[in-house]
Symmetry: C2
């Protein structure tokens, strides 16, 4: 069942200024193209993309001594100061990142290091600490929160530490259902390695085809099958980390009371304490069966009530997601089913894999029906499954057509879900309106828990004169609204630099002090990903 | 279904030198009394217990100024320097604690503070910081790892901070299935408060009748229903903590990627960073049905294989526990079923509560039968359920009969389970043999996970001249063996002072540095529970 997951294309084969494999890029479906002016008004096509060789970057700030020292750590051939490598490691894949890739002058790291072992990672950190060079860990390059920006903080140079050579299955235990994967292993590579043993990880975020195991851990990722297999942080049973002041190996037992769970200190740490080099994960036998079913609800609220009942009952589907009325209509329009879209309310996709499918489906169906849902066959669920990793390609086509398209997400309790959804939508619309732009907002729920759920928003707007500044203003208003409504600043995209200014509101000054204290201890010179999660000046740079 | 859980007896009504309610104390069953000399050789009755008023303690080290300052924080009537209060807060309920309670001279805290609000807790910490007084947070007093020892570290005095006045249901959300409980609420009090809403927490460790919600969180407790409702740390969705340098409120959403999960920094922190004053927990409607079933396996290994299949299949029983051959025989002997004991292998108890019982039972039964199990009716499961909180009473009777009885526990992966069990048993037997004593070891598995399980050991031995020293030596050997075999130093009893010297082996020096850095930040003068988890001198005491 993993063949459909796509090729194990490496990050380097991703378009340097867009998403994914150029061969998979696609034009906007005609119905969407017709719909856009109705939703957003007249569109203005942006300046065309430029070639990679046309980009202007500052010369590398690394000295010959720096290169020699880093070369001693990692091998001279793996210290890459080429124009292309530096540009390919200039950031992640948020819409703002893609807009920056269209600019003539770009900020890039001074070099790309490609260690091949844990010890080489450790040697890189030692050399960088010694020479006062900032280090940005880089996996699949799919961050959408600015976690990969080449920020040097108070340091004189910054390097991107590309972990893609740390690849492979380091350990496998079929009895316990555990695998140890090198941090740079991508989603498809991991599934291919595990499928040789008859097992799978089952972690399928939209970034699956490019993102790495270490990145999933560092960013607390959550995948489409989270209802069945849990968020990535619940899959992790152990970690190996290289920090500037020593290694750490964590995770001896599936349950422990041996003090606070330090695995959780590194899950979500986004490279500010060190580099995750290997991850031990829970795996399960590849499910033999899969059943799909779509549902239709009169509106989002009724659908959310159905999902709540399923989450609180337990033992339900492997995948469950609820699209609001707008997303349901756009999904149908994309498929050319505009007529159907007009009479459709909110749609739900369910997928069942593994043991006891018939019983789980029957129990789930009873709960969804009781909440006002109507079974709608397999069609829509199949459409979703077929295109589930392709959303980011559509964004590139929209940008080319003059449409700004971005996503953001949050989570809260079931009791507060409607209020949070309304607060975010209002902030999105108000933000674009203040910039004189029309916008269209869609929302879905794709991760459910007994006590609450995630909310994932997609917003479209016509591109104005300065879309980066416009979006920065809109996003700030949304972040304020999320925190005021009691939501989390991120359910699975993480903090990076984009959300960092809002984190103190969520975890308090005491929370920021805890993170800063850990960072000072493990990374006393502050070389690790400065500016991500906590301010770059939280830890003073090395003198001299 | 909560009436059976016993009275909401407060910690103060617990026997000062034994377990629980004096009215529930019971003599050793005759068959056990007959069996003991066969197992352990000739027994020597220890010196009889002494009266509380016969205990000699040092005068309180608090000055009149100290008492006045602490009285300003908490109210003068809640600064208790009485002989009885100090002795009642001298430690927890390990066997070593109980042996110490039989001695003439005892170490006790200099006073007991009883704050009634979060702000009073915060004021206590401020006054104690200001005056250089160590603080030992105290909930139900049921620690079995020395977490409540009145250790002053480098400070001139030490107070016990009794949290039992912080009681009650602070918030309740039936839609999301969440409740906020004050940290000093005991297990039975919490269930009584929730049952008024038709909900339960479902956390039933053996300490249930006395232990508190805050204690469950601080020690990462795990209860008998963990297969159904999870360990306590998975139930926690939020915390409020008072630290010597500020408050922190954590937990906004059921899933988040807003940096590392700081709730997990305080779960398992055992009071070394601050005091948990309120806990937000996931709760569920009181299950309407319950089904019990016992199983018999040829041996422990076959039973463990059955439990593994159940854990990896998911959606199984609410309670599942496997007793090895020795524990199975002793359980039967206790009930006067000695004849049956001789032909019994290893027994399994299963309990099903909540939704889909018939399907879950059928699926579990098929897995257990395939692993070699035979259904053995309800009887043994009912016996277990009936007596499940009474084990500690038996220990008091054993001590009076001259039998040393103690428990310890660990966890590992399924693949390493047999090896770890064997290593611990060997270390226990060898340790007592080196002290010239016969011993009897029993083991059970009571917490299962997809990737592994807990192991819980009970050891009996005849009491020798210095049982405290004998046990210290035996336990050290066991701890070494656990770590050498890859197990965790504790699955749910926590670290306290007893396990602290072994923690560095488990989490590495880098792990100890992380904990120390957090402690220095939140508790810069090291007043909080000095010596628990990390060495007391990790944080320097306040000068002057």
């Amino acid at each position: 069942m993993t063949a459909e997951n796509g090729s194990g294309a490496a990050a380097d084969s991703m378009r340097w200024n867009g998403w994914g494999d150029p061969a998979r890029a696609r034009d906007l479906p005609l119905p969407v193209r017709s719909l856009l002016p109705l939703l957003l008004g007249r569109l203005r096509r942006p300046a065309p993309s430029i070639g990679l060789d046309e980009v202007l970057v500052a010369p590398s700030a690394l000295t010959a001594d720096d290169v020699a020292a880093l070369g001693s750590a990692v091998g001279r051939e793996y210290v890459d100061t080429s124009h292309e490598a530096r540009i390919r490691h200039a950031g992640g894949r948020s819409t703002s990142d893609l807009l920056r890739r269209r600019e003539r002058e770009q900020l890039v790291p001074d070099a790309v290091l490609r260690p091949g072992t844990h010890d080489e990672v450790q040697a890189c950190l030692a050399a960088a600490t010694d020479r006062g060079i900032a280090v940005i860990p880089f996996g699949g390059g799919t961050s959408v929160v600015g976690a990969l920006d080449p920020e040097r903080g108070r340091h004189r140079a910054v390097v991107s530490l590309d972990l893609r050579r740390l690849t492979g299955l380091i350990g496998f235990d079929a009895v316990s259902g555990e695998a140890v994967l090198a941090a740079g292993t991508t989603g498809p590579e991991a599934e291919a390695l595990l499928s040789a043993h008859g097992f799978e990880l089952g972690h399928y975020p939209q970034s699956f085809r490019y993102a790495t195991i270490g990145g999933f851990a560092a960013a607390r990722s959550s995948g489409q099958n989270s209802a069945g297999y849990g968020r990535f942080d619940t899959m992790v049973t152990g970690l190996r980390v290289a920090t500037p002041t020593g290694d750490i190996d964590l995770g001896r037992a599936p349950g422990s009371a041996a003090g606070p769970d330090l695995v959780r200190v590194f899950l979500g740490s986004e490279g500010i304490f060190g580099v995750i080099t290997a991850v031990r994960v829970r795996v399960h036998p590849i499910p033999q069966d899969r059943v799909l079913e779509s549902w239709s609800f009169p509106d989002f609220a009724a659908g959310a009530e159905g999902l709540r009942r399923v989450a609180q009952s337990g033992g339900g589907p492997t995948v469950i997601r609820l699209s609001d009325e707008a997303e349901t209509a756009v999904s149908l329009a994309q498929l050319g089913k505009v007529g159907k879209a007009l009479r459709q309310g909110a749609s739900v996709v369910t997928v069942y894999e593994g043991e006891g499918i018939a019983e789980r489906r029957a129990a789930t169906a009873a709960l969804l029906a009781a909440a006002g849902g109507t079974s709608a066959g397999q069609g829509a669920a199949e459409d979703w499954l077929h295109g589930r990793f392709d959303g980011p390609y559509l964004r590139d086509s929209l940008l080319d057509a003059g449409v700004f398209c971005e996503t953001l997400e949050t989570a809260t309790t079931w009791a507060d879900l409607q209020n949070l959804r309304s607060a975010v939508e209002t902030a999105l619309r108000a933000g674009f309106a203040a910039a004189g732009a029309r916008s269209s907002v869609m929302c879905h729920v794709s991760h459910i828990y007994p006590t609450g759920a995630s909310l994932y928003f997609t917003v479209l707007s016509g591109i104005r004169v300065d879309p980066l500044a416009t979006w920065a203003g809109v996003k700030a208003g949304v972040n304020d609204a999320i925190l005021a409504a009691g939501g989390t600043i991120s359910h699975h995209h993480a903090v990076g630099r984009d959300h960092a200014p809002w984190l103190a509101h969520e975890i308090g000054e005491t929370g920021i002090r805890i993170l800063t204290a850990i960072k000072r201890e493990l990374d006393p010179h502050g070389i690790m990903n400065p500016g991500a999660i906590i301010p770059a000046d939280a830890v003073p740079a090395k003198a001299g």
